[in-house]
Symmetry: C2
Subunit: 311 residues, 2 copies
C-alpha cells in the first residue's frame, strides 16, 4: 500500500467493518474516519453517539463481535436496575458502554467539543487512527412514519426496530451545522476518500448534509469511491433495502450511482449485483463485499485501495 492519506466516511456496524479493514492495512496517521453523529441522542441525560462508538470500539478491538455494536463481554446490570425502577429499557445500555456515555456527557457539559471528547476516548483506548465527528453542532435524524408520525431516529431504529414505514427522513440542524475544521482539513488533504458500506440515507446522507462537506468532497482532486451496502439487492443488516424504496429511492447499482452523483468516481459492488444501464465512463469494482471475518475486511480494504490507484 502506498503512503496515501485516506478518509473514510462511516456510519455504524456496516461501515465499521470496512473501517476495521482499512485500519489494518494503513499505517497510523494515514487513516481518518469521519463519523455520523445524526443518530446521537440523549437518554437519561447521557449523550450517546452510537455510530462513533461502534467505530471506536471496533478500532479498539473491543467491539462485540455478535452484535457489531457495544462492547464484547459487556453486562446489563445497570439496565436491569433501570427496569426495576420502572424504566422501559428499550435502548441496550451495557455497563462498560455506559462509561463512555458518562464521560462524554461530563466533558461535553464542561464545554469540551465532541471532536476533542472523541479524541480523548479513542486515544485512551489505544486507537492509532483519527475518528472525527463530522460536526460538533447538533444534528438529529428524524423519520416521519406512516404508523407513528414523526419519530426521533432511535425511536424508529431501536425502539420500533425500523418496522414502521417511512415517508420522509431529514436531519434536524443540518441548516446550521458546520463541518469542523478538522474534517475540512482531513478532506482537503485526503488522497482517497472511501464512502463505507453504511446506510446511504441514515448514515452517509447526514454526513453529506453537514455544511461544507459536499462542497469539500466536490472540490477535491483525489479519488472518491462508494462501497455499496447491498448484496443481491438486500442489505446485509439494517433497514437500507426496506427504507430506501419506501422513500422512492432506487437501490440498484444505477440508483446508488444517482444517490452519490457528483461525489464519487467509482462504485464498489458485490458480484451478486449486476449493474444495469450504467454508463461506460463509470468505474465499477465488482468483488465479494460480504465481510464476515476480519480477513474479509482486510482483503476488501486492500482491493478497494489498490483499485482506487488505477482510477
Amino acid at each position: 500500500m502506498s503512503a496515501k492519506r485516506v478518509v473514510a466516511l462511516a456510519g455504524g456496524v456496516g461501515g465499521a467493518k470496512l473501517v476495521y479493514g482499512l485500519a489494518q492495512v494503513l499505517p497510523a496517521g494515514q487513516l481518518t474516519i469521519i463519523g455520523n453523529v445524526a443518530d446521537d441522542f440523549t437518554l437519561y441525560g447521557l449523550h450517546i453517539s452510537p455510530d462513533l462508538d461502534t467505530v471506536m470500539y471496533t478500532l479498539a478491538g473491543i467491539a462485540n463481535p455478535e452484535t457489531g455494536w457495544g462492547i464484547a463481554g459487556d453486562s446489563w446490570q445497570m439496565l436491569e436496575m433501570l427496569v426495576r425502577y420502572g424504566e422501559e429499557g428499550w435502548f441496550r445500555l451495557g455497563d462498560r458502554d455506559v462509561a463512555t456515555h458518562v464521560l462524554r456527557t461530563h466533558w461535553l457539559a464542561q464545554g469540551v467539543p465532541l471532536t476533542e471528547v472523541t479524541a480523548r476516548l479513542t486515544r485512551a483506548l489505544g486507537v492509532p487512527h483519527r475518528l472525527l465527528p463530522v460536526t460538533d453542532d447538533p444534528l438529529a435524524t428524524m423519520v416521519d412514519t406512516v404508523e407513528y408520525g414523526i419519530l426521533p431516529f432511535q425511536e424508529y431504529f431501536v425502539r420500533r426496530r425500523w418496522q414502521p414505514v417511512a415517508r420522509r427522513v431529514w436531519f434536524e440542524g443540518a441548516e446550521t451545522a458546520r463541518m469542523t475544521a478538522e474534517v475540512a482539513q482531513a478532506l482537503a488533504e485526503a488522497d482517497l476518500v472511501v464512502i463505507c458500506p453504511s446506510n446511504p440515507v441514515l448514515s452517509i446522507a447526514p454526513i453529506l448534509a453537514v455544511g461544507g462537506v459536499r462542497q469539500a468532497l466536490q472540490g477535491r482532486a483525489g479519488r472518491c469511491v462508494a462501497v455499496s451496502p447491498f448484496i443481491g439487492g438486500q442489505a446485509v443488516k439494517g433497514p437500507a433495502a426496506k427504507l430506501m424504496p419506501e422513500l422512492g429511492l432506487d437501490i440498484s447499482v444505477n440508483g446508488l450511482w444517482n444517490f452519490y452523483a457528483g461525489l464519487v468516481d467509482g462504485l464498489v459492488i458485490d458480484v451478486a449485483d449486476t449493474p444495469q444501464s450504467v454508463g461506460e465512463h463509470k468505474a465499477i469494482l465488482m468483488t465479494y463485499t460480504l465481510m464476515k471475518t476480519d480477513d474479509d475486511k482486510v482483503r476488501l480494504a486492500k482491493e478497494i485501495l489498490d483499485w482506487m490507484e488505477t482510477l
Copy 2:
C-alpha cells in the same frame, strides 16, 4: 408496639442498621426517615446521594451486607471501563448503583426536587416507609485538614479514607438551606424522634444545621432520644472516634449529652460505656448496641421504642 409516629434521623451505614430494625417493627406509614444530604456530591456529572442510597437500599432489602453501602451482588464493569479511560476510579460506582445516580441526575435536571426523586426511587423499590432528604437545597460537608487543606467530604472520606487530621468541619449552604415542608410536617407530627447511631459530626450535625430543623426538634412535645454510635469509646465503623477528638469534641457519654444538649430527652448507650458525671435527671438506656445481625437491629429498635414510652 403502639401506633406512634416515629421519625428517625439517619446518616449512612450505622444509621441504616437501626433504621432497618425500626422498619421491621413499625407498620407502613408510621416511620419516616430524615436523611443526610451533605455528603451528596457530583461525579462525572452524576448526582450521588450516598446516605440516602444506603438507607434506601437497606430498606429495600438489596443493600450489600458486607460493605453496608452499595447493592448486593453488584459488579464493577463501568468503573473498570472508566479506569481504562484514564479516570482514577476512587469512588466505587457499582453497575446497578449507577442506575440510581443516572435516574436521580436525570430527574433533578428536569426540575424534580430531590424529595420527589427519592420518593419515586424508594416507591419503585417497594420501600413501605418514607425517606425524606432533610432539604432540597444544596448542602455540602467540607473538611479542613492538616495535610491537604480544605477537602470536599468525599475527597476526605472515600478518596483519603478519613486519614487526614481534621481541623474544622462545616456545611456549605447551611445558611440558606431550609428543611422541606415534608420534613417540617414529619417532625411536627412525630410522637417519637430517634437520632440513629450515625456519626454525630458528619451525619447528624448536617441534618441539624439545616434551617428549621433544630427549632422544630426543640418545639416538639414528644420524646427524642439519641443512640450513641460508640462502643467502648470506639466507633463501630468510620471516623467518628478519630474525627471528633481532632475537633476537640468529647466522645464520652457526657460528651454526647453535650453534643445533643437541648434536643434529646434520653441517650441509648452501649453496656461497654460507663456514663460519668451525668446528671441524675438525664435518662439513659444501657444496652447492647452492636448490630451484627438483622435480629440485633430489630431487638435494639424494639428496646428503644419500648423505653421511650417510659420516659
